[in-house]
Symmetry: C2
Subunit: 236 residues, 2 copies
DNA sequence: CGCCATATTGAAACTAGTCAACCGGAGTGG
DNA sequence: CCACTCCGGTTGACTAGTTTCAATATGGCG
């Protein structure tokens, strides 16, 4: 599984970028804990007073129904936070998407440390916006739009309100390509987009058939025309 | 449109209650503004530095796709907050669901007033949990489950992890009834649940046909057996 | 009384889900 | 070294659930 360069997620329309590599800025403080990819970090219903801030890597936050249906609620990267339910009982589960390093804080520390609380607050607001976008996707977009949106979110700096647009070059219409790593399996993508694995697979195949995307490895996609893909998201 | 007594929404599984009537506790501070039902409060894309806290009434927060598809993201009541996007540009629109009174704060005031910020932070965490639940509903539940979940959320104190259960009485199995006001039109419910108006209508009709609910006015539902309805939500 | 909104119901079309077969690469063991 | 297996992904055929389109109620209000 190749770790992608960037993973633009939070608040799609604002075009924020979500990264998996450790940031230059020194992180948090707090106790650093590490997990391997696909390790369980928090289980829904756990009583825990821990709040987590991602230092490096990616995390999937999800919920399960009693019969096993799973919805991945958010996919998080460096700087994102989780474990901030308003009670001591976690309302969600969290699993490492990649090998991950986390800064772990006690809930009480959040009450005491104003700088930490401000950072969490600010990040929570950003993640809230991403959640809004995702609700729109889950409630109103077609399978094709969902997959197009998912891929677009992996293209750093594109597709948001502040989208840089295709780079201006001497050849108009050219040089609007990108290559993104997926990091997630088809099943995970399906659980994130509220679809089945077959529907996701078919959507990828259809996009490849009509030339919108290309790939050899199924976890690394090339986009010939980013603006063209963006038009398939339903958002633009 | 009869204002319901209570509207249990935020973090379904935690069973928090959302009310439309003004609370006993003195509110916020901030400038009080009022809107009539269905009045537009914020428009997606607006540049505004206002943060709102609901003093009385209900608010619908939603997003639109360019072709007019609408997703109602959250339905908010007293104490809930909105306008907390992480940039000055609002990522969502907000409309009054009932006549509503709002406490309006300047974003800068939030940075200065620690008590206010803590209150907003705490509430944001609660609303984030509600959003998690709603993503699960939108991504993974059937139409029937969505409507059952919607109705259950209107039953104060029931359906959460801390559900009080049917009241214990001398007649076991009795006295597990409830009556709830809907406050929303079928179209609004549909846009909230990620369905069409016809599907919502059919789900209500089916629940009425099989005796799970009863109603004369379409905006006021009687539940004969709350636990029975709860079993149809998919969550239990 | 009659109009306009909203809601309900029916029938047909379509999207996504289900079930099942198959493919292909990675790892295992004879 | 190669057959075998396992697992994730793809594809096909069929089904189910939801949407779409259209007609018909119902209810509030002038």
């Amino acid at each position: 599984m190749t770790a992608p360069q960037t993973f633009s997620n939070a608040k799609f329309d604002a075009g924020w970028s979500l990264r998996f590599e450790a940031g230059a800025a020194a992180p948090a403080g707090g106790r650093i804990v590490s997990h391997r990819a696909r390790a369980m970090i928090v289980d829904e219903g756990d009583t825990s007073n821990a709040v987590y801030e991602i230092v490096e890597g990616g995390v999937m936050v999800f919920k399960l129904l009693p019969d096993g249906r799973r919805q991945i609620i958010e996919v998080l990267g460096v700087g994102d936070v989780f474990g901030l339910a308003s009670t001591a009982v976690s309302d969600v589960s969290a699993e490492a998407l990649t090998p991950v390093r986390l800064a772990m804080f006690d809930r009480r520390a959040v009450d005491l440390d104003a700088a930490l609380r401000d950072r969490l607050f600010q990040r929570l607001r950003a993640q809230m916006c991403a959640l809004h976008d995702h609700a729109l996707l889950l409630g109103r977009k077609s399978a094709r739009e969902r997959v197009a949106t998912f891929i677009m979110r992996l293209v750093a700096g594109r597709g948001g309100v502040d989208c840089s647009g295709p780079r201006r070059t001497n050849q108009p219409g050219r040089d609007d390509r990108a290559r993104v790593g997926l990091a997630m399996t088809r099943q995970e993508i399906a659980d994130y987009l509220g679809l089945t694995i077959e529907t996701v697979s078919r959507a990828f195949s259809a996009l490849r058939r009509d030339g919108t995307i290309a790939y050899d490895r199924q976890d690394e996609v090339q986009i010939g025309n980013v603006c063209g893909l963006c038009r398939l998201t339903g958002s633009h």
